[in-house]
């Protein structure tokens, strides 16, 4: 009898409970379940419990939807569950957890990149406007 997607697995591996993103979906259509499993469980292991979902593809109103069973998540946090890096970043952006340092890092790196690209563009435009420099005149005695 196959286990249901809402849970039924066990904490068989070492590492303690960990809240992660479990990839479902199809080719060119990812979809994630937010689940709780052992920290070092292999990727295809059946989760202990499903706590929510996350759709990375934006909908018609340009929204990426995330659902979370807050009550159960808080229960597992009380039992000592950790979050994976991606799950922590996502829930930080959603407002459940504080904002992750990597979010800030990505944001300022993006800003630097945009500024650098704009400077390079301006420099390229300036060189194009000034035109090609004339070749030196050869004066042979």
């Amino acid at each position: 009898m196959p286990l249901p997607s809402i849970g039924g697995g066990t904490f068989a591996r070492a590492g303690g409970p960990c809240i992660k993103l479990f990839l479902h979906g199809h080719a060119n259509r990812p979809f994630f379940h937010i689940v709780i499993t052992s920290k070092f469980a292999p990727l295809g292991t059946h989760p202990v419990e499903q706590l929510g979902t996350y759709d990375p593809m934006p909908n018609t109103e340009n929204q990426k939807l995330l659902s979370l069973n807050i009550e159960r998540t808080r229960y597992w946090m009380g039992q000592g569950a950790t979050f994976s890096n991606t799950a922590a970043q996502l829930l930080g952006k959603a407002g459940f957890l504080p904002i992750h340092p990597e979010t800030y890092m990505k944001a300022w790196r993006n800003r630097y990149k945009v500024a650098d690209d704009e400077e390079a563009k301006k420099a390229a435009e300036a060189t194009a406007e000034s035109g090609p420099s004339q070749p030196p005149s050869s004066s042979s005695p």
Binding site: R74, M77, G78, G80, L97, P98, H100, Y104, M105
Partner: protein, 231 residues
């Protein structure tokens, strides 16, 4: 010792054992690895003396990141501790309530909560559906207007074509006038009994005076210049 055959899948090492009378062949397979290779496999010659230079983080960024990480750890640990306390209290309360409240009452409470949630979602959905339909209606009206305009343009163009055709057909022989035209054509006599001289003179027929019976009026004096005879 054993022949090695290279293919797109990998290296095929053909092993054979002659233990029995019949030759038994089987293929040892080395696949192309899509993962990190095991620790006991030796380093490839191309990677042996590779100089891997890691670009360090800028100093400002490193300071900022360490500060952020410390504050994040503080927040997270405080959250966990807070949550631990809440979850213990919640568990104790749930155990207390489970004893007191019967199943039926609990079900009723859950159904009420569900109904309230359904009402809220229904309201939101109805509003969004109305908005969507209004947009669809506006699109349809715009499309209809466009079609009507195209129809008007098409009618104008057809009208022009019709008018040009009517104009062209003004000079055409109509069925009502057919008899008249036939009579006229029959009555028109063409005099072929004439000759043109080398000098260009038209010598008319013997028994006819003029040739102007049809609509074409032939001038009395020819428009052709007389041919000059070479001297």
């Amino acid at each position: 010792m054993f022949p090695i055959v290279e293919s797109s899948l990998g290296r095929l090492i053909i092993l054979s054992s002659k233990k029995r009378i019949r030759l038994q062949c089987y293929i040892g397979y080395q696949s192309i690895r899509n993962y990190k290779k095991p620790i006991w496999v030796p380093i490839a010659p191309s990677k042996m003396y590779k100089n891997i230079v890691e670009t360090p983080l800028p100093k400002m960024e490193l300071q900022e990141v360490t500060a952020l990480q410390e504050t994040y750890k503080l927040y997270s640990s405080s959250l966990w501790k807070f949550q631990d306390g809440i979850s213990r209290e919640h568990e104790a309360q749930m155990q207390k309530e489970a004893i007191q409240v019967s199943e039926e009452v609990e079900l009723e409470r859950i159904f009420k909560m569900n109904d309230a949630e359904n009402e809220k979602v229904k309201k939101i959905r109805e509003e969004s559906v109305i908005k969507e339909w209004e947009e669809v209606e506006a699109q349809i009206l715009a499309m209809r207007k466009g079609l009507e305009e195209e129809e008007l343009i098409r009618l104008e163009e057809t009208e022009k074509v019709i008018q040009s055709e009517l104009k062209r057909l003004e000079k055409v022989i109509k069925i009502e006038d057919l008899d008249e035209v036939i009579d006229k054509a029959m009555a028109a006599e063409w005099d072929y009994n004439f000759a043109i001289d080398k000098s260009g003179k038209i010598v008319q027929g013997r028994y006819n005076n003029s040739i102007g019976l049809a609509d074409l009026s032939i001038p009395k004096k020819p428009n052709i210049t007389p041919i000059q005879v070479a001297k």
